[in-house]
């Protein structure tokens, strides 16, 4: 991860900030590779179900628990559904849940963290307490309760995950805002008569962007993880729509006789989560080279 080239920083210095970050990111080969994997996976999630002859809700009685073959490269599940297509759909669902819950997380986290950091004083005291309490929340348990209340759809699951996991985002934004607030250009903006709203969204937030992007990237795998966990317990995406957790818990019973039914879901899930984590770490190192050693 460390780049020991004494003359390189000089060259990089003349670039814009975005280019510096990108250059730093491209130094990390593993992260670049994983970004490629993620792009490929997203394309797969979008296009594979469109071009495939199989669907996630079509039962094929001639291929119950079929072993991997040319027609079904990952084999079939209990009701003869092609596992490869099921995985593509669960990838799609997981990506949707990941993205939506990140948006929810961002909205709540930015608002609460931003207001707490910007206003300071008593407002910060109260909001800071709320953030602290959210940290102690049994997050996963609350996901389940929220899903019980809201129902089981992609949207409500994303909402539930987003609503319980914004605490790190809010704390981060609060810290960043407090740091940036004291800088000279904010002072200058205030002297020029900018409104609070303008200072917060025009001056402060763009300068907190780096850590927020990192936090978002790290939030996606944990949201996917939460979603699949909910399906594993039985309160996730409604069947027949597939989810990794559901596939894994369904395959569990056949681990001896039909290992392919659990092997491919578990393996692919691990790879997806790993790829997202690597990209998150790569971004963190790129944004803050001091942390990468």
């Amino acid at each position: 991860m460390a780049v020991k080239a004494p003359d390189k920083p000089k060259k990089i210095k003349s670039r814009s900030r975005t280019m510096t970050i990108l250059a730093q990111y491209f130094h990390n080969k593993m992260a670049v590779f994983c970004a490629g994997v993620i792009v490929a996976l997203i394309l797969l999630a979008i296009f594979a179900p469109i071009f495939s002859p199989y669907g996630y809700d079509k039962v094929d009685y001639t291929a119950l628990r079929a072993l991997p073959s040319r027609e079904h490269i990952f084999g079939c599940d209990v009701s003869g559904r092609d596992i490869f297509i099921l995985l593509c759909y669960s990838l799609r669902n997981a990506l949707i849940v990941g993205a939506c819950s990140i948006v929810v997380q961002l909205i709540v986290g930015l608002t609460i963290g931003g207001v707490a950091g910007y206003c300071g004083g008593r407002v910060d005291g109260i909001l800071g307490r709320i953030i602290d309490i959210m940290y102690g929340f049994p997050t996963f348990l609350f996901n389940l309760i929220l899903v019980m209340v809201l129902g089981r759809s992609l949207f409500t699951i994303s909402l539930a995950i987003g609503l319980t996991s914004w605490a790190p985002m809010a704390r981060l934004v609060r810290g960043q805002v407090i740091t940036v607030k004291q800088s000279d250009y904010v002072e200058a903006g205030r002297a020029l008569g900018s409104s609070n709203f303008r200072i917060l969204f025009h001056y402060i937030l763009p300068n907190c962007l780096g850590p927020i992007v990192i936090c978002m990237c790290q939030g996606i795998p944990s949201a996917m993880f939460a979603e699949s966990g909910m399906s594993l317990v039985g309160l996730g995406i409604k069947p027949p729509a597939p989810s990794w957790g559901g596939l894994i818990s369904a395959g569990q019973g056949y681990i001896l006789s039909y290992p392919h039914m659990i092997l491919y879901p578990a393996l692919s899930f691990a790879i997806v989560i790993l790829a997202f984590s690597y990209v998150g770490d790569g971004l963190r190192d790129a944004f803050d080279p001091r942390q990468s050693k």
Partner: protein, 321 residues
């Protein structure tokens, strides 16, 4: 310091109150209840349905005939005395008995996992930091990355498959003997091992780059001695702060792992309570988990402050921010 402790304790009490109110309110809002799920289940087996009288008696037994606010007040009063009443699913068992029976199992699993993580993770982190950017370091970093990002239940499957079914070293079913603990603990501890390794490596590398380490080396201290005596001591203290969040994520991990290995722990009961809408059990377990996580965080902060005077000062002067 003691004042700070009391303050934090007060916030925990407040937080538990808020969490209980939120949980209770949400469960009131949830459409359908235990009786509905039971009715639907029964209808799928037989045509017999619950009579109105039975329903009324059931509601009276659980105090459901009272208004919601009064039920919440009753719940709070009883909860303070650690009385949660009977559960819906196991109507012959009191929830406090269920918790007393299952919590030690889950706690034992979680704490053993943390212990294993520390015992394995710290040495791995040290090795990686000493051999920084060499092949060995890369391998350790990769392993810790896999460990910390692959979910516990995928690990559990891998363990079952390889250790249990292929190599036949460990039993995949059964509960009660020490050997039944091994596989769940392996599955649970891999994530924390990754975290601990990553963290140890990070802090140790940072410490090794400090001036005083260079001074110690320049004065002729040999590498091993300087690393272990001077650097390691300072870099291990912040590790304590990782343990708190780790326990929080382990409580989730136990839900899955207990589910997979059919371990009669609290996580397993929680999952089945949530699915079957056993509201009293959901309330009680949520509170227990919340108290455990927050209590551990407080304990960790206290130990951290005790070990590091800088933290102690910053906690007491800035009012715990």
């Amino acid at each position: 310091m003691f004042k700070y402790f009391l303050k934090r304790l007060g916030y925990i009490v407040l937080a538990v109150f808020i969490i209980s109110a939120l949980t209770f309110g949400l469960l009131q809002l949830a459409p359908g209840n235990y009786l509905d799920t039971q009715r639907i289940l029964q209808q799928s087996y037989s045509s017999a349905t619950m009579s109105d009288q039975m329903r009324a008696e059931w509601e009276k037994f659980y105090g459901m005939d009272k208004p919601a606010l009064q039920r919440y007040a009753d719940f709070l009063i009883n909860a303070v005395q650690l009385k949660f009443g009977p559960s819906y699913q196991y109507s012959n068992q009191r929830i406090e008995d269920i918790i007393a029976r299952t919590l030690p199992i889950s706690a034992r699993l979680a704490f053993s996992a943390i212990l294993v993580a520390l015992v394995i993770g710290i040495p791995l982190g040290i090795i990686a930091a000493i051999r920084q950017n060499k092949i060995l370091d890369r391998v350790v970093v990769l392993i810790s990355m896999i460990g910390s990002s692959v979910p516990a239940y995928v690990m559990a499957i891998a363990c079952t498959y390889f250790l249990g079914l292929k190599l036949k070293w460990l039993p995949t079913i059964g509960w009660g003997e020490p050997k039944h603990y091994i596989m769940p603990i392996i599955a649970l501890s891999l994530g924390p091992i990754g975290t601990v390794t990553k963290y140890t490596r990070g802090t140790l590398v940072e410490t090794l780059n400090q001036e005083y380490i260079r001074v110690a080396r320049a004065k002729g201290g040999d590498f091993i001695r300087v690393t272990f005596k001077h650097a390691l001591r300072n870099s291990l203290i912040p590790l304590i702060t990782v343990v708190g969040p780790m326990l929080a994520s382990l409580t989730v991990g136990t839900v899955f792992v207990e589910n997979m290995y059919a371990i009669p722990g609290l996580g397993q009961y929680y999952a089945s309570a949530a699915v079957n809408r056993d509201y009293p059990l959901v309330m009680a377990t949520t509170l227990i988990f919340a108290i455990m996580v927050m209590g551990m965080n407080l304990l960790v902060d206290m130990v951290h402050a005790f070990l590091d005077p800088r933290v102690r000062v910053s906690l007491t002067t800035k009012g715990g921010k």
